[in-house]
């Protein structure tokens, strides 16, 4: 069963075609890597999938709902973690859980037990009443992710989730992603780290607003005669004619 389906998804800004007829599907529980150089159109595509931006043409279905007509239902069944760290610094860990739980309609009596469960998973129990601003960046990102999946969404969108953290924290972060995927949550992630691309079940590479390649990392490497995803990416990105922004 597909959680994300797009058909000729296009976004134009005036004469500029930022996203050009995307056709792809992502299956339930899959970890999907959405790669591309800066300016290739990743962020625009992702914003359309999250309902932040309206496509110029084409259709998109997320979590079984048409995003144009059933925006509300889509929004309830997705989670989102933005590029910037975006929790409330002056609230405690528990208060952030409560707030976002409330926003996503998690029944209020379930929030405390789910919070404990999440903190258990993160090994964060002692930090329950700590202000978020005093946590290290690696922890904050794990917390952001936990909050993005707190309401048990069908799919979670991660926009460069591991920017600026050390390799050990990145590794831990990906363990969380695998755990979520095991529980049936589809993960849709953009990243600039090609070692992370290797962790994905499937990856797509965007060049100049189009998807140039989409397959499992192993098969992509095979097709391009490359030793690593990094090489595959460089091969494809070299073709770009658009300037990065």
């Amino acid at each position: 069963m597909n959680v994300i389906e797009t058909e000729r998804l296009t976004k134009r800004f005036g004469d500029f075609v930022a996203v050009d007829r995307l056709d792809f599907q992502v299956a339930r529980g899959e970890i999907f890597g959405f790669l591309g150089a800066n300016g290739a159109g990743k962020t625009t595509a992702m914003r359309m999938l999250c309902g932040l931006s309206v496509p110029t043409s084409g259709t998109e279905r997320v979590a079984g709902f048409d995003i144009g007509r059933q925006t509300e239902s889509v929004k309830k069944s997705i989670g989102y973690m933005s590029q910037k760290f975006s929790l409330y610094d002056d609230l405690t860990v528990a208060e952030n859980f409560r707030l976002f739980g409330g926003i996503y309609g998690v029944p209020s009596r379930e929030i405390p037990s789910r919070t404990d469960e999440m903190l258990e998973l993160l090994d964060f129990r002692s930090e329950k009443n700590t202000f978020v601003k005093s946590l290290p960046l690696g922890w904050k990102q794990k917390l952001s992710f936990s909050i993005a999946i707190f309401h048990r969404p069908g799919v979670v969108f991660l926009d460069e989730p591991t920017g600026g953290v050390d390799p050990v924290s990145r590794r831990r972060f990906w363990e969380l992603i695998y755990e979520a995927s095991d529980r049936g949550i589809t993960v849709f992630a953009t990243t600039h780290y090609m070692d992370e691309a290797e962790y994905c079940h499937r990856a797509s590479i965007m060049v100049d607003g189009r998807i140039e390649a989409l397959d499992t990392p192993a098969r992509l490497k095979q097709a391009h005669g490359a030793a690593s995803m990094d090489e595959v990416f460089r091969n494809l990105a070299r073709k770009a004619t658009r300037r990065a922004d």
């Binding site: 932040l52 929004k75 309830k76 933005s82 610094d89 409330g102 926003i103």
Partner: protein, 368 residues
């Protein structure tokens, strides 16, 4: 509804956790009103007066005594010669010189009027005008009392009566002004900063992805500042009634109603600023420069609208604080009720609707 509440609670937490800002917001109105009420005062008190009495008769001495007895004037010097006047002003020894011409009393009793020359230091025109009025009224009072009943009144003696604020107390002017300024500061500036902050930190994006409708995000942001402004309104009124002796002469409900509309308007302005400004600093500058200055200069808080050049009077029509301040003066000082502020209420409501509409339209385009 539950979503909205958990949101409004979060906004309240933001404010409560930022203790310094909160103290500033709650303390500032009190500080302002006390400052304006006592320190920065346009009231005339103990003006130093010098007398140049060329008449030296009973009438001139009587007026001098009256002036000295009033708590507004203090006779500090007696001059012998008109040449002494200027050096006196230069050294700052006196700010008013009263000159009685020779034959003052005779002229007064014979013609029913006589001339007193008042020379005032007009480097502070506000004070100069005010004490000229006082001095004139003291002198005319004497003239009236001492007119022989048989003599027919000759000539017209102006009788100035000041209504509503007979002692010309500065606080009567400043209380409405401070209210008008403070609401804008608290609501417009703080709301815009808090919305722009969410955009800067990236939390706004997360909220927009979530199923919360943007309008609820905005309303939840406004609610705590609305509350805060009500607290400020109450403190300013209490301070002005009990500390500055400025009573609420008119209808309190009318005052509260017009204040509510004005608070909403300020909140809408804040929202509008947030759609224009990209950073918190920009939001602060925009609310500071574009809104505070016109309020202080053109709303009638410092300078009466009536005495502005026509072009500025015309511009001041577009400044919401002008209407608010006018309405507050009507109700608090003149003691009028609902009907008298209907026009101001209508204008303020219209402006609010306009700002909300523009802000929402801008807000939507920003999302794309």
């Amino acid at each position: 509804m539950e979503r909205f509440l958990s949101f409004a609670k979060k906004e309240l937490l933001h404010i409560l956790r930022d203790k310094r800002t909160m103290l500033l917001l709650l303390g500032m109105p009190i500080a302002q009103i006390v400052l304006f009420g006592f320190a920065i005062s346009t009231e005339v008190g103990n003006t130093k007066v010098a007398i140049l009495d060329l008449a030296r008769d009973e009438a001139s001495r009587r007026i001098e005594r009256d002036l000295d007895a009033s708590r507004y004037f203090e006779v500090v010097a007696h001059l012998e010669d008109a040449a002494e006047v200027e050096p006196l002003f230069r050294r700052g020894k006196a700010s008013l010189v009263v000159v009685f011409q020779d034959g003052f009393r005779e002229s007064l009793l014979r013609d029913g009027s006589a001339e007193i020359q008042l020379i005032a230091d007009a480097t502070d025109p506000n004070t100069a005008t005010v004490f000229l009025q006082y001095a004139t009224s003291v002198a005319t009072a004497y003239a009236r009392e001492n007119q022989p009943p048989a003599a027919a009144p000759v000539g017209i003696v102006p009788q100035v009566r000041l209504l509503y604020n007979p002692q010309l107390k500065g606080a009567y002017n400043f209380v409405p002004g401070v209210l008008g300024m403070m609401m804008l500061l608290v609501c417009a500036m703080m709301t815009s900063i808090s919305i722009v902050r969410e955009r800067e930190t990236g939390t706004m994006e997360v909220l927009l992805v979530s199923p919360v409708r943007p309008i609820f995000v905005i309303l939840a942001k406004m609610a705590p500042y609305f509350l805060l402004s009500c607290v400020n309104l109450a403190t300013v009124l209490l301070v002005s009634v009990f500390v500055l002796d400025v009573p609420v002469a008119g209808s309190l409900p009318a005052l509260v109603l017009v204040s509510f509309v004005y608070i909403l308007l300020a909140l809408a302005l804040g929202l509008l600023i947030s759609t224009i400004a990209a950073t918190q600093v920009a939001a602060m500058l925009v609310s500071g420069m574009a809104f505070m200055l016109p309020v202080i200069l053109l709303s009638g808080m410092m300078f009466p609208v009536e005495s502005m050049p026509a072009a500025l009077q015309w511009i001041s029509n577009a400044i919401p604080a002008r209407w608010y301040i006018a309405a507050v003066k009507d109700v608090m000082i003149k003691g009028l009720g609902f009907q008298s502020v209907a026009k101001e209420l209508a204008i303020l409501s219209g402006m609010t609707v306009f700002f909300v509409a523009v802000a929402l339209k801008n807000f939507k385009t920003r999302l794309e």
